[in-house]
């Protein structure tokens, strides 16, 4: 089988899923494909372009959710698909918002969200639309990043209470014991039980409500 951009991107994604973006190297991808490292440069200009390729593959899956009849259903579907993709491919969240997403599938997703939002109440002219797209994407980017980061630290410290106390605990509990961060302390101690997906949905609804219910520009 003759090696192609798609195959390279696919194995790159597999490796990145397994070992993270830092653990990803052209040499490992090449080894995985059974070729020399330089072979990849016949299909890809440099590592950055390979990253763009990987990103657009993920966007392709996001774009699959397509268009619903209602604008809000479309936006919700895209947001959920983006979150799901980032949870499937945590490296995706590392790149989210950090570079221009100009691949064809990324543009398709952008088109779908913009088209949906342009049909939302309260979005009257282009300026409204630009702001609405910005607000929605900003929220999605930030929310997904936060959630993935949390998942990672939870995994690295260990999920259970004991390991937590052993790794981050000493420093953090000492910090919180100082009494200088009472509200944060309350949040950490009392509020760890919220479901991540529900929180995402809730806040997404909040943002959408804010967009649609703005009285003036």
């Amino acid at each position: 089988m003759p090696l192609s951009r798609d195959k390279i991107a696919a194995t790159a994604i597999r490796l990145a899923d397994a070992h993270g973006l830092d653990g990803l190297s052209l040499r490992k991808i090449a080894k995985e494909l059974g070729v020399g490292p330089m072979r990849l440069y016949d299909y890809v200009i440099n590592k950055s372009e390979l990253l763009d390729l990987m990103v657009d593959v993920v966007y392709a899956r996001i774009a699959e959710v397509g268009q619903r009849s209602e604008w809000r259903a479309t936006v919700l579907a895209i947001a959920h698909a983006t979150r799901a993709a980032a949870l499937d491919h945590e490296w995706f969240s590392d790149v989210l918002g950090g570079r221009p997403h100009l691949g064809p599938h990324a543009l398709a997703v952008g088109e779908a969200t913009a088209a949906a939002l342009s049909a939302a109440p309260g979005v009257r002219d282009i300026d409204d639309l630009q702001r609405a797209v910005g607000a929605l994407n900003a929220f999605i980017i930030g929310a997904v990043r936060r959630e993935v980061t949390e998942r990672r630290t939870a995994r690295s410290t260990g999920t259970d209470e004991a390991a937590w106390q052993a790794s981050l605990g000493p420093y953090l509990t000492r910090m919180l014991k100082t009494g200088r961060y009472p509200t944060v302390a309350r949040l950490v101690i009392d509020g760890a039980h919220l479901d991540a997906e529900e929180t995402f949905n809730h806040n997404l609804a909040t943002v959408l409500d804010g967009i649609t219910s703005r009285p003036r520009t």
Copy 2:
């Protein structure tokens, strides 16, 4: 002068400001300080800890804005300070949301925002507060990241129309000419004149309004 964590962090920040996070290396920092690379390991465990140090220095400046009397004024001040810090230190936006921010000054900022939001109308119990903090931070992270990324591409392609057309233009205009992305095309062509700061303010207000005006949990 005997070299310290603060001095190391300061020159690291200077170098990162000048050449980006990718252009930052322990060897260059050491050379800038006139010492061997290994000297740094007497003050810092590894590069990741140095990054945490740099991040908390930036948070220290953000925390300086302190507490206003009104909760909304406090939140606005912190959000603006965060944005300003990210525009001063673009590498900061690369890290934003990508790792737990647990330094003392980062915690101080978190405390200030959480305390302010807990006084907002519509934020009744801890769960409300946790969601509100999440929504606000998600927006700030995403918005700042987007803006910095835009600035970078604008700078790398050149600000003027000609350079733009020369670099990203060919691919992007070809894409938009396909007619598959009409809404995006309209946004790119008609809507490039919005002021970034005003957009940030507007969307921040939108999010805050959404938070305060939620009828039910």
